[in-house]
Each structure stands twice: as structure tokens, then as C-alpha cells.
Symmetry: C2
Subunit: 518 residues, 2 copies
Amino acid sequence: MHPTRWGDPARAQALPDGARGMVELVFGVDDRPALDAAPLPPVAIDAAVLAELARAVGPANVRTDDETRRVRTRGKSTPDLLRARAGDLTDAPDAVVRPGSHDEVAAVLAIAVEHHLAVVPFGGGTAVTGGLVARRDGYAGVLSLDLVRMDRLVSVDHISMTAVLEPGLRGPEAEALLAAEGMTLGHYPQSWEFASIGGFAATRSSGQSSAGYGRFDALVVGLTVATPRGRIDLGTAPANAAGPDLRQLFLGSEGAFGVITAVTVRVRKLPEVKVYEGWRWPSFAAGAAAMRTLAQSGLLPTVLRLSDETESAINLADPAAIGAEASQACLMITGYEGEPAAVEAKRAAVTAVLAGLGGTGAGTAAGEKWAHGRFDAPYLRDSMLDAGVLVETLETATFWSNVTRLYDDVKAALTAALGEPSLVLCHISHVYETGCSLYFTVAAKEADDPLAQWRAAKAAASDAMIDAGATITHHHAVGTDHKPWFAREIGPLGVSVLRAVKADLDPTGVLNPGVMIP
Amino acid sequence: MHPTRWGDPARAQALPDGARGMVELVFGVDDRPALDAAPLPPVAIDAAVLAELARAVGPANVRTDDETRRVRTRGKSTPDLLRARAGDLTDAPDAVVRPGSHDEVAAVLAIAVEHHLAVVPFGGGTAVTGGLVARRDGYAGVLSLDLVRMDRLVSVDHISMTAVLEPGLRGPEAEALLAAEGMTLGHYPQSWEFASIGGFAATRSSGQSSAGYGRFDALVVGLTVATPRGRIDLGTAPANAAGPDLRQLFLGSEGAFGVITAVTVRVRKLPEVKVYEGWRWPSFAAGAAAMRTLAQSGLLPTVLRLSDETESAINLADPAAIGAEASQACLMITGYEGEPAAVEAKRAAVTAVLAGLGGTGAGTAAGEKWAHGRFDAPYLRDSMLDAGVLVETLETATFWSNVTRLYDDVKAALTAALGEPSLVLCHISHVYETGCSLYFTVAAKEADDPLAQWRAAKAAASDAMIDAGATITHHHAVGTDHKPWFAREIGPLGVSVLRAVKADLDPTGVLNPGVMIP
């Protein structure tokens, strides 16, 4: 992916006319073209070191050309895009190294330790919290460790319903390989088309079907990790009492403790049917209460999402209708995947609960519309940025009794910080028995310095989350952007433990320096 | 509990006549009375230090009398009992300290650090892998940190369905306090009548209703821990992507990283009905396959257990019928708890699956019999030890495709090591989508040195587990007994990480020294 844009260039699109009309109405259009061919800093790594890397992974797999370096620069947060659009590619890696196996990863790490090179594991490049922006100072250079060649479905176990996947597999590739075995992972984050298995594990990703399939960390039953001090293999049983669960220490470690070189995941049978439908609720609170009832009844569909009044209005209305007349109904999406009889039974049970709680069925058209467009939002963001509208997302989670406070506080913080004209949308994207996540999307007319504008809003929202006792991130990870709030969330002793683990596994600090650990 | 016996002395019982006849038939009875009033080693801690402790927690809460020290000596493994029965109480703590709050725990830890006292957190005293047997050498003394006074239900959240519990609450007390709120934890390990909330968390306990309520580590959404370096509070949301899940580092830490002073747990509505019933299967393999089908269909009852041929024969048969004529049918227990309609719906669905797979319903009498006697086995063990029969349990877990190998290998190792006459029984006690646990009970005629006899059998079984790629413990924890095999399970780098965390949180090593960390 180009550092200024999301995804496949062929799918990039100007704003549809209707949307452009809406943007014009709300924000005013202010075309801001991106500087797509900005220059890169010179390669800082010695030729002798590059030759050593080439001996480890093969000459074709050590790249220093501009194009290769450019597309491994940063991730896909709006600040990442804004900096790249303004021609700032100062975070470009010096070289991109593509190991083909665990042993080649280990060999690259040994070279990195010897020459004190920072190593940034790279899967799909879809990070949105600065996880690909390693600290550069004090290092002899930065390597992007691109796992693209490690793209095998290593093995499947049809009895245990598990599969061993390599980290460089992208979402669609992994699903295609599993589908040939009659299996599915069922993990569909919005970044799914580009994001990788290793990235899902390293960031504790959560997908749009998490209600049915579980978060990615719940899917992982085993891990292999390469560290500067050697290899670790974890996962002897679905669960055990053999000390702390060390799998949960490497899940979420964002490349700071090691490079995940294989992941053993729980899989399910490929669903025979998928049904998505819409429900309308008189208010966000009413819809949220219904989600809570489902979660606490053990009656969750595969997909369960709920947009607040503003987001529902944007999604449901004709662009021209945005404004005072917009419907105040909140849109919920329910989805069911599996065998036909099980899907129908679950759907009937959920339908009875939702109807009993005051929901109004809105049919499958609304559900299909959501399913059809579920991976498109990042393309729309690019078009909005082109039109001078700042768009970004952020997310958090808390326990049910704290949801209203968290929602109000974060929304107020964002609204106050962004000023007028701005929009703050929210949906509940993931539910649990004891709580849920809140996912906010904001749009605001770009200020002269949109980066500073966004940083102020992000800081205000993050303060509101931590002040409310919620988490700084439900599924976007810590990266570099969230570190100050993450430190508040886990406290000084939590930070101390992470540093101790880091010092043990990566004594010279070459692994993704500056990322995750405050 | 007395160090030579399980539980409530009033419930201790001689072997029932029928059982005694069976024991006589199989093993021969060889009465071996326990030495119940063995002497204790002198108190090694200075009076000045005891006075300092008394200032921290109150004079009434620092005890050095024989009776108090005696009942805090070791746990309840068969080796623990054998040593106590032989009059060996050398592991008795020097003093028993009973803090009443987090701050008092912290104050005791500070004194322990200052005077280099080993601190053994004590909940119910039901440990079965040596978790209460701290290393003594190099320490100025051993404190049993009895959490019995920290027995409050701190708060309940009826919206989020969570509750904050103190660590000293025993199973029945916790359930009674929650029941008054219309809630249940649903965590019923065999030790439930005596074991504590803190112990459940520190050892990753799993209960007999884990299929419905989940393992204890799955119930925990928040933790507060006192360490020599200060306090840590974890749990801002049901789940998040804010780095590694540090809750999972303290769960299973067995007192080696800190003292758990509060646990926030997910609770459920108190069930209106509980139904338990039996099923018969032509073989252990057929029953296990049915369990796997249920788990992989998302159709789990609240309780799901399956005894192998030998255990079923012991459980089902008249004692006189044991032998070649014993029925080869395997007994499965299914249990359903919840609201009547949900229970009936789940029961009907499970019944259809089990009947379709070749199971034969055995009615509720078998289920009720199991439910009635579910906490009694440890009393029976005492009676068997009195009769000169060595009885012990051990357990493991693996993925479904490996269950047959693990079962065969562990059973063969135990049988070979114990020699004749011996019995090796097994049941599947906990199931997951990807695998299950195996719980073995052995009985053998006591050799002249039953401790050495058991250690050899335990080592052989443990080797078989690790050689098969399974875990050394599904829910009994590491303690001191499992350390060599735990080290093989997580490898040298896993051990290194645990030591690094320990060194960070407990720099002088006062917390349960020698326990859990290889």
C-alpha cells in the first residue's frame, strides 16, 4: 500500500457525487491533493551489513529501492497518511528484509543485534496507532522485517479443529487456504483484506464477527516466537494451570518481545449460510441494553453491532437529508453464520428477544448493505482527506455499567477539541457478557495544521477514556500513539513488568524500539 | 484442616463396609493409622519481628501456637498427607499472620522484605502440588499469610454482572454472599468446600461446571495484587488490545509474583433449576467423540464429564462385582443449570445429539448420585490411606487428536510404575472446542515407602505427559511438585521470562520462594 492511501489503488475513488454534496454541505470542500512521490531519506545501513543480510535471506530478499521502502513506511492511521501526504517519509526503513522461515527470522535478528539495527516486523502494514514507527535514534539503521514470504498454511488438524498458520498470510489468503479444507477462521477486522495473521496476533485484533468467533487472542491456542535469545514454543493444550499463560504475554506484544513465526488457531467449519439483517431501536441506549441482554443470556449472533443516532443517520439517510430531519432511529446489524438449522434456530431465538425488547426488524437489505461495504471505509477516508476533511477512528471498551459515561465523555471531548463543523459518530462493535467496545469515527474540516488538530482531539479523547476507567484501546493496540495513556492504564508496576520482560528477551533492544512499552 | 486429613473432621469416616470389602478383595487391607499429634519444629522468627508483625496486623492476628501452625502445614496432596501421617511436620510455618486488608498485606510484605522472611499466601490450604511448601533455606523464617480475614463481597455490579471478591472467601461463603444478590459464580472444583477465591485465581482453577461457566481464569475480569514493589490494579474492560494481558500473568502465579488482594469476577444469574443426568457409552472413545461433537457445535451443557471403562465400573458396580464381569459401559454425566426454558431447550438439543451418536440415557439418578457425592472423594482417600491403600489423582490436557495417545501413555506409565495390585481410573472433566483434560485417579497397595512409590509413579506419568506434548497440569497448578516438567513444557526461554518478572516484582525473593518458577 502506498504510504499516502489505503489499499488497492485500483479501488481508490473520488467521493461519489452524493457524498461530495454532503461533504460540501457540512464541511465545505477544500481539495488537498497528496504529494505522492516524496523523496526518501538515504539508506543508512552499510553495504557490508546488507550483504550479510543477503547471505541470511537471499539477495532477492534484501531491498533498498525507493518503491519497496516507500510502501513499508509507517501504517495507516490518519496522522500516518497526513504526514505522507505532506511529503514526510522520514520514517522510511533503510532496508526491507524478507525472511522465508523461522530460522531466517532468527538469522536476521542475530545480525540486527550484532550491528544494532532496529527491527520492525511488517505484516500487512495496516497499523493505525504508530506500531510501525520505531525509534531510530541510537540505532545503526531500521529494518522492515517483511513477513510476506511466510505465507503457508503449515498444517490442519480436522479432529482438534486447529490450524497452524504462518504470520505473513493476509486475511483473504488465510481464509482461502482454510476454505479448501472446509474450515474458517472467521476473523474479519476492517483491515482484513490486507492485514496479516502475525499482525492479528501481535496486536490482539478483534473482528466484526467477534460475537460468534471470538477475538483473535481467543482463537490462538499456540505460538512460536523468534527472539534475540532464541525460540519459544507455547501451547500444549486449549487451557491449563501450568503457571501464567505465557501465550497472553506474546499476544499483544507488537513485535517488542519477539517475532511471531507461527500461530496455531482454533478454526470452525466453513459456514454454509450467512445471513445479515438490520434492526432499528428508538435510541442507542435501548439498543445497547438489548445487546447486553443477548450477551448475558448466552445468545449472541455471529455479528452484532449498533450505531448511535448520528452514525445511523449518516448510514441510513440520503445525503441530502442529513440535518435536523434525520431519523433518530439507531441501526443494529445482526449476522448469523453456520449450518442452516443452527442459523435459523439462533436467528429465531435472537429475533424473539430483540422484538420483545422493542426492536423493529429492518430486514436483510440493511444487513447486506453493511456486509457489502464492510471493508470500504478506509477508501472513503482517503477521498475525504482529498476533499480537506479530516477523518479518523478511535476505540475503547468498558464494563456495561460504565458505557454511558464513557460514551458521553469521549464524545464531548472530541466535539470540544475538533470544533465546528465536525461530526462524531459511534458504534458498539464488540460485546461481552460484562461489557462492550465503543468505536468512534470523527470528521472535521481540516485546520491549517491537521496533524496538530487531530493530536489535540486524540489526546482529549484518550484522557477521557482513562479518566473514565476504560481502556485506551479495545483492538487497535498501543503502538507509539497510545503509550502515555497505556502507562496510566496499567500503572508504573505494569510498565515495569513489561520492561523486565523486554530486557530479558531483547537485551539490546533491537525489537521494534519505542513501540508498545511506555 | 488437619495436615493428615481432608476437610471437616466430623465428616471423616471409616470405609463403608462394602468399600472395605472391595479394598480387601483388590488390595488387601493393611491398617496404617496416622500420627496425628506429631511435634512441630521450634519457631525460628525473633520475638522483635513478631512484635513488628503484630503492630501491622494486630496482636490477635499473629499466631505461633502449635495448632495454628499445624493446620497451615503443606497442602492436601497424598505426599503431603503421607509425610504428615508419618509425623513429619518440618514444613510448618514459623508464624501465621492474618492481614485484614490490602494495606495490611502490603505492610506484612514490607516486614518480610526487611527481615528476609519467606511469605506463603494461604487461602483454603487445599493445594495438591506442593504450592504451600516454600523453600526455607536462606530465609530468616517462613510466614503463612492467611487471608481468612479478607472475606468480603466488596461490591456487585448488577448491570455488568460482575462482583469484587476478597481472596480469603471460601467457595461456599462466596456463593452464599452472591446468592443473596441473585448471582452465582458457578465455580465448583472438588476442593470447593474449603478452597478460596484467591487460590482459584492464583492457580487457574477449573470447576466441575466449567463447560457452562468457564474456567476461573475466564471468570476474572480484574485483579488487585500486592507486591513488594507496590500495588497493581488490572482490568479496565472485559478484553482489550492494550499490550499483553497482564491479568493472565498474575493468574497462575501461585503467590510468586504477589498476593492477590481482590478479584473482580464475571457472575451469572443464580440458576433456577439444576438437572444432572447420566449417559452410557459403549466405550470411552465413543463418549469422548460425543463430547468433542458437543464442544465443536457450541452446544455444551453446564457439566460434562466422562469416566473411562475402569472408573465407570468402580462407580457403577456393586463392589462385589468388580472384576472380569464388570460392565464395559462408560458413564457420562451431563448437567444443566439456568432458567427452566433455557435448560429444557439445551437439554433437548444435547439429548438429540448424544442419542444420535449412540449414547443411551441413564436418567437423572446417576446424575444426582454424582452431584451428591461430588465433594466427597478426598474423605474416601483418607479412609483408603488408613487401610494401607495409596490413592492420588493427577491430571493433564491436550488437543483432541492427541487424547488417545495421552490416555494410553499416562495409564501405561502409571500401571507399570505402581505394579500389582493397582487401579488406574480416568475421566474427562473439562472440554473445549480444541481439546480436553484427562483426570486420573490411582489406587495401589502401599509399599513400605509409599512416598517413594508415589514419586516414581508420578514422575513416570509426568514424563509421559510432556513426551506426548501435553500439559503437566490442567487445573492443579505447578507448585513445587511439577516444576521439572513445567520447565520442559515452557522451555528455557519461558522459564527465563518468569524469572525476569519475579525479579522485577519481588527483588529479594520473599514471595513463596521455590514455588511455581523452575
